[in-house]
């Protein structure tokens, strides 16, 4: 599904990623953990195609195709989805209209007709129930005045609507209370299948109790310095990151 080879990336001439290697196969859940400033969000943005980030070296392959030169929307059309750590407020565009546009533009890019209105409504109803989202919420301006939890739930709702092959959840657990966390995790788990994959970026082990990873990677100073199974997350939760830093620096 996703293969990252020796990825170096920078923003404004500052090197952030310094040689990332990662392979994610269909059906897998990978967690990327690490202290603040280690490059977790940068990695997510680079995979999603944010233009400010310059790929200096290495490659990102999605289903064996190099996606380095693709625009963010083209990556989305190929099935990449990023759940934002800080979803952007867009006053004047309702959640529903935003999703309609996103879905129909994706279909257009694939040479498909627009989705019929009744089908769209059905899909919206189905997916909003999955995330326990109130119908009234959908006619509000995208993310405007949403609470932290509402924003994150809305991100996963969008993921449910778009059914990506590769979903990257960037700190989706931050700002969530335990109920919202459960709803969001439940949504992600229901969407999981043997054909898609999820990368969970998180600071804390808490979310991983609900979305159970197959692999856990520790990102530190722009590199993946340790990989393991889900027990690694528990170890990190217990001991913090210092022991890893010491291991590296030793």
């Amino acid at each position: 599904m996703l293969k990252i080879n020796n990825l170096h990336a920078s923003v404004e001439d500052k090197n952030i990623l310094k040689g990332i290697n990662l392979e994610v196969k269909p059906g897998e859940v990978h967690a990327i953990m690490g202290p603040n400033g280690s490059g977790k969000s940068t990695l997510a943005s680079v995979i999603a195609g944010k233009e400010e980030y310059e790929v200096e070296e290495g490659e990102i392959l999605l289903e064996d195709e190099n996606i380095d030169d693709l625009a963010a929307e083209e990556r989305a059309h190929k099935g990449v989805f990023l759940s934002f750590q800080y979803p952007v407020e867009i006053p004047g565009v309702s959640v529903t209209n935003f999703m309609k546009t996103a879905i129909n533009e994706t279909r257009k890019a694939k040479g498909l007709e627009e989705m019929p209105a009744n089908e769209m409504l059905k899909l919206i109803r189905e997916k909003s129930e999955l995330l326990e989202i109130d119908r009234k919420f959908l006619s509000r301006s995208l993310n405007e005045g949403f609470s932290g939890g509402e924003k994150k739930r809305n991100e996963i709702f969008q993921m449910a609507m778009l059914e990506p092959k590769l979903a990257i959840l960037d700190e989706t657990d931050s700002g969530l209370d335990i109920d919202a966390l459960r709803i969001v995790a439940n949504g992600v788990n229901k969407l999981k299948s043997k054909d898609n994959a999820v990368i969970v970026i998180t600071h804390y082990q808490r979310l991983l109790d609900y979305i159970v990873p197959d692999y856990v990677h520790v990102l530190y100073n722009g590199r993946i310095v340790k990989s393991g199974g889900k027990e690694l997350a528990h170890e990190l939760e217990e001991k913090g990151y210092d022991w890893i830093k010491e291991e590296i620096n030793a």
Partner: protein
């Protein structure tokens, strides 16, 4: 001969065609004198600092179109809001087109300025209202001097006009360059309600200059919603002078949608002559190429307990230039005034520019007046957010621009106008987005 000389010397010939005994004769004679003294405004004048008429007035315009032209409805249908039932007052090259129009005298008058100026039964209305709200600046005076045709709308007391009234001015292109000076008068009596849509449209690329004056009188508790659709070819220029005189408890709104034209100047003036008046001025401007749009607004709060709301959004691309000059005057007596003004702009090219200037003159001490203007670019993080959901760059930009204009569009009360404007914006931005905001 320059345009000013041409106009001044045409005045005698024009007066000879019309009734010299008319009470309006003196008004016209006075007006041409004003224009002769002042001439066309130049950038030396504060109110015209950012808008030059030079390139507009150097054409050899025909000032009196000679012949009457006919157009087929099917050829110009798209310029009407045609999916709703409406009254229509249609002019071609300044002349009334009866077969394209639908006027009425049943219960209220939706008809012609020429009739109002000439028929005895309208004499009193003309005496009471004609040229009573317009200021005596040079361009309005020029229009007054030649005032002969336009829309005349008189809505009687307690009358709710259910169908909107569309005023359309077409120029056929038969003249190589044409100057038009329509004169509209709208009188809405106590407790009456009317909705009006105005549009100027040239049908060829021959230059057209329109210097229009519209006087609107809202009597006690009257409600008037006025929509100006400015989407003309980029060879046509428009100077729109609109004067609205409001009496107590009346509500007037003017929405100005400026997408087309070479040079557009909107002089929009509200005078609040009573208490508990509400005035709304809103506009969306989206232009590119070398287009120029200048909104010059005035709200004069004369009496206490009134409100005014101004909200203008502008998006400027290519080498386009914009001006917003919003003047609010609050008289000493006008206590408890609430006056709001906002002007937000987005520049989407390095060469586009906007000059925005709030001008508040407040002489009362117990008032709430606010103003704010912003100039920015499209939000990059919002762009990435939308693109990461599969919305391509062009569509994402368009969506952001819609969203930006949405505050203004949302207060449009006629859904068909909102749809039309949305469509014009989509065309303008070259996208096809399958929903209405």
């Amino acid at each position: 001969m320059d345009l000013k000389e041409k106009l001044v010397s045409s005045f005698m010939a024009f007066e000879n065609q019309i009734d010299i005994d008319s009470p309006v004769h003196d008004v016209r004679s006075e007006a041409i004198k004003t224009f002769e003294q002042e001439g066309f405004p130049t950038k030396k004048q504060e109110a015209w600092k950012y808008t030059s008429l030079k390139s507009i007035i150097n054409q050899d315009y025909s000032v009196f179109p000679k012949q009457e032209n006919a157009l087929e409805y099917r050829d110009i249908k798209k310029y009407f809001i045609h999916d709703i039932d409406s009254y229509k007052i249609v002019f071609i090259d300044g002349k009334y087109s009866s077969h394209l129009s639908q006027t009425t005298h049943e219960g209220f008058d939706v008809c012609l300025m020429s009739a109002a100026l000439n028929k005895p039964k309208y004499r009193l209305v003309i005496e009471n209202y004609f040229n009573k709200a317009a200021t005596k600046d040079s361009l309005s005076s020029l229009n007054t001097a030649f005032a002969s045709e336009g829309a005349f709308i008189h809505i009687k007391k307690n009358k709710l006009v259910e169908k909107p009234i569309q005023i359309l001015h077409f120029s056929s292109g038969d003249e190589s360059a044409l100057m038009l000076q329509p004169r509209n008068l709208v009188v809405v009596d106590e407790n009456a309600h009317v909705q009006i849509i105005e549009r100027h449209q040239s049908l060829t690329d021959n230059p057209v200059l329109t210097n229009s004056v519209t006087e609107i009188f809202a009597n006690k508790r009257a409600i008037i919603d006025y929509y100006k659709v400015q989407n003309d070819r980029e060879t046509a220029s428009l100077i729109d002078n609109t004067f609205i005189s409001q009496k107590q408890e009346s509500h007037c709104s003017v929405h100005t949608f400026s997408f087309g034209g070479k040079l557009t100047r909107n002089n929009l003036n509200f005078f609040q002559n009573g208490e508990r008046i509400d005035s709304t001025l809103k506009g969306v401007t989206i232009i590119g190429n070398k287009q120029h749009v200048d909104h010059n607004t005035l709200v004069h709060h004369i009496e206490p307990n009134c409100e005014s709301h101004q909200d203008y959004k502008g998006i400027f691309g290519d080498n386009a230039t914009g001006v917003f000059n919003g003047r609010v005057i609050v008289n000493k007596e006008a206590q408890k005034t609430n006056a709001f003004q906002a002007n937000n702009n987005i520049l989407i090219s390095d060469k586009a520019s906007i000059n925005t200037k709030p001008q508040l003159e407040i002489f009362a001490d117990d008032v709430k007046c606010s103003h704010g203007c912003t100039i920015g670019q499209l939000d990059e993080s919002a762009m990435f957010y939308m693109r990461s959901r599969g919305i391509p760059e062009k569509e994402a930009k368009a969506l952001l621009m819609y969203a930006f204009s949405n505050n203004v569009l949302s207060s449009v009360k006629i859904p068909e106008i909102k749809q039309r404007i949305t469509k014009i914006i989509a065309n303008k931005l070259g996208v096809n987005i399958g929903f209405d905001l």
